[in-house]
């Protein structure tokens, strides 16, 4: 296995990109990443995307994106793992480079979610849950995460305010991210008082529907030192785990086992522990998801994740900054792109390019990207060289 580095990243502003198509937004981010890396070619490409077939009627993204990026006939394949598609695509690119099959590989992610209506988007996203045992009976993702939140509140005393603190903190970070979909600050009262979606989850506990893409360029670390225009960032660990697809099959519905397992593998591979991590980008598709994720990754004891944002420990400048980018909540959540955008944030943080949301002195960053209710999870640790 070769050591692998990220030498370039690219992303444009996320949001409701009515004037652009799926292929437009992917190729724009991919070109930015290629420019950022300063390379004149790529050898292979992985495209993370959850369900472009349902969102825009386009499958076969390996070919579409290689064609429109102008890189055909290189090998290019679409990677799908629901909302973890981007993280898993990055992992496939990492494995490709580490194994020695290819040298310069692009990992991208994309989703165009606004071209269908809310009902269509809810249906498309619901395909990440168990179609036979969950979706058939009418449950949607806000419902599943609401059950996790109720369970967490019941067992550990987690409060409505603690959920709100996650949204407030992530929007504060996102307000300093010019690429975020909703770069606006929120108050606790606004979050708790917004439209109730699935008790206790309000609309401001939810990540939004987003059009967006992100891309990263990976190559062997040795090559990176010669090739890269900017300081390369080393991939210290890449881990991936799965869990039951249905929430009700789990012994503890508010414990994200796949996140725990992927985190353990990543810590072991990197020879690090939670205390060594400067900051983490976690998958806050709902505010409760961030609380569960920071517990499963070992930053907080089981049941105590609710204190993270409330106490300020997860703020930029706190003990373990969580989602300095604004997270899915403020930055947006184009599902297939999210995992790659998390890597982008870590790379930019480690290069010291994050302005008002910069985590000072950051040397090691982690990403956690999950599909569904963490039926799959990718965790990466990256470090300054």
């Amino acid at each position: 296995m070769r050591d692998v580095a990220v030498i370039g990243v690219g992303m444009q502003k996320w949001g409701e990109l009515w004037e652009k198509s799926l292929r437009d937004i992917f190729t724009e981010s991919a070109l930015l990443a290629i420019d950022d890396a300063g390379v004149d070619h790529i050898d292979a490409m992985y495209v993370g995307c959850m369900t472009s077939g349902l969102f825009v009627g386009q499958e076969h993204l390996g070919s579409v994106m290689a064609d429109y990026l102008g890189v055909a006939p290189i090998p290019s394949v679409r990677v799908e793992s629901a909302c973890a598609s981007g993280g898993v695509a990055f992992r496939q690119a990492f494995i490709d480079v580490a194994s020695g099959v290819h040298d310069i590989v692009l990992a991208g992610g994309v989703e165009k979610m606004n071209d269908i209506d809310g009902g269509g988007a809810t249906h498309a996203l619901s395909t990440a849950a168990d179609a036979e045992y969950e979706v058939y009976h009418g449950v949607t993702f806000p419902g599943l995460y609401a059950m996790m939140a109720v369970d967490h509140m019941h067992k550990y005393g987690t409060t409505r305010d603690q959920l709100s603190h996650v949204a407030v903190k992530n929007h504060r970070n996102g307000s300093r991210n010019p690429l975020a979909q909703y770069p606006y600050e929120l108050t606790l009262e606004q979050v708790a008082g917004s439209l109730l979606v699935a008790d206790p989850i309000t609309i401001l506990d939810c990540s939004p529907i987003t059009d967006g893409a992100a891309a990263a360029i990976l190559c062997p670390l040795d090559m990176a030192k010669r090739l890269s225009k900017r300081p390369p960032v080393k991939v210290l660990a890449s881990a991936h785990a799965t869990d039951t697809i249905a929430l009700h099959s789990r012994p503890d519905i508010s414990w994200l086992s796949a996140v725990e397992k992927a985190g353990e593998k990543a810590y072991k591979a990197a020879g690090l522990g939670p205390k060594d991590i400067s900051f983490v980008e976690v998958h806050d598709c709902f505010t409760i998801a961030e609380i569960c994720a920071i517990e499963a990754l070992g930053f907080f004891e089981r049941g105590k994740g609710g204190r993270g944002a409330e106490s300020g420990e997860t703020a930029v400048g706190g003990r373990i900054p969580v989602n300095p980018s604004g997270g899915l909540k403020s930055k947006g959540h184009p599902v297939g792109a999210t995992g790659v955008a998390q890597v982008l944030e870590v790379v930019k943080q480690l290069r010291g390019e994050c302005g008002g949301r910069q985590v000072k002195g950051a040397t090691i960053g982690m990403t956690q990207n999950m599909g569904g209710v963490a039926g799959s999870c990718a965790v990466h640790i990256l470090g300054s060289v």
């Binding site: 409701e16 009515w18 004037e19 606004n114 209506d117 809310g118 917004s194 439209l195 109730l196």
Partner: protein, 348 residues
């Protein structure tokens, strides 16, 4: 150029509150009231339709125009709820006011823009000398599917304008139109309710065209927002026209007199034309008014009017729009609303 000789509006007495609709669908009334700035809307009675409301509004316009209806050479009714798919509304209206038979009639349809386009065409025909006076009406008994977000706004009302070159209440100084192929809202033949593309109806549809038209209109006229006493924009809800106006640099006070939607709802083809009638009700001679309509599909017509001295003589000749809106209301419950709007399918 031609101008407005007389104007009038009409809306039904019935009102339904946002809370009453939200209660039925388990929806959150405060978020609709705050998010869309809507409180209640006008609902037609079972015996009212686009034609009856067009007749009422036209009678008010004729009272202010003080002309013989026989001198009206064109009757154009803009609506997306013409009672017949085949058979014009215009001929019924023309006959009802005594303008037949030497009159040209046409029904217009362009989502919520059909009323202003009737005005636009009448101005052209009057300017060209083909007619002495034209009657332009925007009227709708618009439908929103049960439970759809449109149900909170889809309302009923009409505005009528007698347009010609004679002494009028407002001169038209500049016109401008801004159109693109934008599929944000539609209803195919045989469909009972329209469909819409959710949030796509906002930024790339309403705002793109309203702002594009208003900017183009002001550029053509060499004008800026401070040059106008008032501005009227299409009102699909309470929020959009206020936001569009503020984005263009207009002040709330310039928009408020014609801002009827919070308590009227969206009267579709009647929307910005009714806003203009309410604005003319309060305007002074010499005031300039900017009006920009919007119709899905999509496009905006823009007009700059200058109010004349005659406004003071004629405005009290017919009921004022805001007074009609605020007085004589009759609140109905959802069941009555469902019956009136024929949302209940009767047995065969």
């Amino acid at each position: 150029m031609a101008g407005i000789i007389g104007y009038g509006a009409y809306m039904p007495r019935n009102r339904i509150k946002v809370e009453e609709i939200a209660k039925v669908w388990g929806a959150d009334a405060p978020s609709y009231k705050k998010g869309l700035m809507l409180r209640e809307k006008a609902v037609p009675s079972p015996d009212q339709d686009t034609i009856t409301m067009a007749v009422e509004a036209t009678k008010h316009a004729l009272r202010r125009a003080k002309i013989d209806p026989k001198r009206i050479g064109a009757v154009y009714v803009g609506s997306e709820s013409h009672p017949y798919a085949v058979k014009p509304s215009g001929t019924v209206l023309a006959d009802a006011i005594g303008a037949t038979p030497e009159v040209h009639c046409a029904d217009f349809e362009f989502a919520c823009k059909a009323g202003s386009e009737a005005m636009f065409v009448c101005m052209g025909l009057a300017d060209g000398g083909a007619i002495e006076y034209g009657l332009a009406v925007g009227a709708d008994t618009s439908q929103g599917a049960p439970g759809d977000a449109l149900e909170y706004s889809a309302a009923a009302g009409a505005a009528a304008f007698i347009i010609g070159k004679g002494p009028g209440v407002a001169k038209v100084l500049t016109t401008y139109a801004f159109m693109t192929d934008t599929p944000d809202f539609w209803r195919r033949e045989h469909m009972h309710y329209p469909r819409h593309a959710g949030r796509f109806t906002g930024e790339p549809a309403y705002f793109k065209h309203v702002l594009g038209c208003a900017k183009g209109l002001m550029e053509k006229a060499g004008a800026k927002p401070a040059d106008f006493a008032y501005a009227v924009f299409h009102q699909p809800n309470g929020k959009f026209p206020m936001r569009a106006g503020q984005m263009l640099g207009f002040k709330k006070e310039q928009i408020e007199p014609g801002w009827l939607s919070p308590t009227l709802g969206n009267t579709y083809s009647g929307s910005s034309p009714m806003g203009l009638t309410a604005t003319l009700d309060v305007a002074k001679p010499g005031d300039r008014i900017l009006m920009v309509s919007y119709g899905s599909g999509a496009g905006s017509d823009g007009f700059i009017y200058e109010v004349t001295d005659r406004i003071e003589e004629v405005r009290d000749a017919a009921p004022k729009t805001r007074a009609m809106l605020d007085a004589n209301k009759r609140y109905i419950d959802y069941g009555t609303y469902a019956k009136f709007r024929r949302k209940i399918r009767m047995g065969e």
